[in-house]
């Protein structure tokens, strides 16, 4: 399998970058779990893939922290689905994390890109 393997993803989960990923995607509009998983897969060019086992516990954790909130949406004759949206707290965390992440990426770029310069 190409891309990041399960163990690596596990590490990312612990490090919190996966949280940033989810918050960023939900910041645009509310989405359900399957949509999130597809978006991450597609936008990472197939490099990132969330399994159910890791995606949902992550969502529940963010919900317990109060960063996102899930709401059930019902449609006639269909299974009800749970949509998640970012809360005000979540939005603040996202802004914080984006800053840190940008700084980190910038730093990495400067170190790794320095040899090419």
């Amino acid at each position: 399998m190409s891309g990041i393997n399960a163990r690596a993803l596990d590490r990312e989960l612990k490090r919190g970058s996966a949280e940033l990923l989810i918050l960023s995607l939900l910041d645009a509009r509310p989405r359900h779990g399957y949509e999130l998983s597809k978006l991450i897969h597609a936008r990472s060019g197939g490099h990132l893939r969330f399994h159910i086992d890791s995606l949902y516990p992550l969502l529940y954790r963010l919900e317990e922290r109060g960063w996102i909130k899930g709401v059930w949406v019902e449609k006639p004759d269909e299974r009800r689905r749970r949509f998640y949206k970012v809360t005000a707290t979540g939005r603040k965390v996202l802004a914080e994390q984006r800053k840190t992440w940008d700084a980190f990426v910038d730093a990495v770029r400067r170190v790794t890109g320095g040899e090419h310069a």
Partner: protein, 913 residues
Amino acid sequence: MPDPSTARRDWARHIQPRLSPLSLAPARESEIIEEISHHLDERYRELIAGGARPDDAALAALAEFSEENMLAKYMAPLRQSRMPEPIAPGAPARSLAGDLWRDLRYATRMLRKQPGFSSAAIVTLALSIGALTAMFTVVDAVLLRSLPFPDADRLVQVRRTYPDGGGDSTSIPKFMRWRAHGREVFTETAAYNNLGSGFNLVGADGPERLIGSRVSAEFFDVMGVQPFIGRVFRAEEDVPRGPKLVVLSHAVWKNRFGGDPSLVGRAIVLNNEAYTVVGVMPERFRYPDVAELWTLFQFDPSSRDRAHNFEVVARLKPETTLAQARAAMSVAASAIKRDAPDLMGGPETIGLRPLRERLYGDMREPLLVLFASAGFVLLIGCVNVANLQLAQAAGRHHEIALRSALGARTSAVVRQLLVESLLLAAIGGLLGVAVAYAGVPALLALSPVDVPYAERIVLDWRVLAFALTTSLAAGLAFGLLPAWQSARPNLDDVLRAGAHRAIGRTNRWTRRTLVAGEVALALMLTICALLLVKSLAGLQSTNPGFTSENVLAMKLPLPEARYGTSQALAQFAEQVEERLASVPGVRAASIAHTLPLELGSDLPFTIDGRYVPGSETGVGSANYRPVGKGYFATLEIPIRRGRLFDARDRHGSLPVAIINETAARRIWPNEDPIGQRITVGLPFVPDLADPFAREIVGIVGDVREEGLYADPPPMLYVPISQQNEAYATLGVRLLPFSLVVRGDASVSALTRSVQQAVWSVDPQQPTSDVRLMRDVVARSLGSQRFNTVLLGGLAALALLLAAVGLYGVIAQIVGQQTREIGVRMALGATRSNVARGFLGHALVLVAVGIAGGLIGAFGLTGLLRTLLTGISTSDPWAFALAPALMFVVAILAAVRPALRAARVDPVVALRAE
């Protein structure tokens, strides 16, 4: 075959095993299963749309899971995976503490589920526990706790006692004998002036008046107090013409002398004489509680002065009981009567009572009545909450029956219900303490009398312990009955029939009995309150015998050194009255030794031509009051016969006196007192006696000198300018004089101009304690008003609670009988029939309660006897008005549920079940 692209597959069997290692709440687990099922649905549909066969698509969709145990592993740290243990009330016990904890959590949940019931119960309890706790705070400080002196329980007051009462004050010869005889049972016996006398301290900021108590040398030893600095008095200093010494209170030392320790040994000027400061008392010591300093009596042991003008306190020996001391002093009284029959005669004997009774004896009865009333209110409150619980238990029958059916033991169900009651009581009690905390200062502010050591009336651990005990007792009281009744439902009935009909007749009857009882209790309190109201109203309309409107009174503490002779006193009084007469706005003014509603002293007198020496014939006694010429005009006391004092009655002119109607009636029943001559002081108080006879020149109207509730005493008025030397000296020493002024100007303007007039005569003479006579009269009813307001408030609370209880019961009955009402209306009953029926029902309950209450009230009001004036404890007005009031309240309470019954729609009611 269904379209596989839309078909829902059952994913649960794939998901559920992955969640099972977690202890998720069942509801949460099914939510997660649903959410993940949706995920799998979407994936499955996508695969089908991509052309996969259903079974392959399903398998591929399940590949969205990674490993078998990963979901549980990632979920495990989440909060939702740690579900609390289920609460199963009434389940078999494991440990008592655990059970109670579980019961408590369940109880909290139950109370939160029924905010209406909970808040009604909690407010009821908070108010009634608060009222009782506030009363207890006062009762505890005043009647239960020992006084703030070392071994205060050994302090006793030694006093004159007669078969029908007693007197707190005594005379020098009696004190000398009491002290000698008391050595057997008392460690020390001391004399002290309880009212205190004024001492003018001249300092940099002008003259200031301090209250000092004269004491005998043993005083501080008796009280068991050591000086803060310096020393106390010594026996060898307590002799006639001994050194002028003073002990200061901590407050005076701190505030007036800056807490200067070198003050001890130095002299200060009091009443124009130099007193050497020998010591300062510790901060917490204050006795008598008015005292700011103490000086020595320096009695002459050979004095024959019979005037009773100081009090005696003694400390029991450690091994002596009060009863032993009483017996010993009774023997001593016999011995004194044998040795000195002229000193102590007739039925007089020596009595002892704990010092606490001396201080708080008067407050005892009213306090106990109020405390008991607050207890009544709490009882009514408990009945109310029990009622609410019974009503609510009706709704919970199903739940309880179910629990019993599931195997809960009766004891477990009772325990659960009791824990709910106790939780309610605890919350109510906590809020009650808050109510008391706010209420006690208000109570003291409303209090008419200055309660000695009022600073001790605070919420302390004793009060908290009381509130806790009361709350628990209340919780048990209102919890046991409902718990007992609810815990033994007939399971079959309840589970088969709807909850309503199974509530059972027992519950309904219990509730009605409780409400009738509540009505009875409330009625009893209302009757008591109405009795007090009527008594107070009677007193307020009593004519005091003088006009208090527009009269200003103030104290004039005259220093003995300047005004201790009859001539100096006469001159000062005449000059002050003269100056005051010319002050604009003053219509009349006078100086007087004492004023109506103040303590005065009785003096005996002999009637010339009738007195037989050695007998009681021709001896009279009256309240003795030296007054200025303008006294009667200022207070508008009417002259009945003869004349008032005028310019003729000067120092040195023919001595005269005026009596009141009561004195005329009692002492000269069949004669004309005018023109009679009397010698004041003889035969019993020779040291103070007039060395001349006085002619009675007038009779004035009676004044209720001892309060509006007491009959006017006989009075003997003499001109201030015609006092004998001995009385002039003692009078100035014992009590401050007073000024009364009738005027049109404002109080502050009048006060200023009176002060100026006094200063124009003597620039060093302060005035103090300015007050309106109107307020003095009003304040003399303060105790009555206080008792009435408080008991009235408690009775109002009781009525309100009874009304709430009645409302609850009628509303419940209406609720339960909706179907019956429907049937009756369907059969032709009109709406007014129905409403009248329920109203009648309520009134029957109230009538039963009233009957009980009336019987109880006849027994209870006897306790009020000492608090009532001028009316009987079975006053028909109160006994008639209270039930009428109760009926009005009952109709108001029952009218809403009764009207609701009338609005029942028969169609809806019949279809409902």
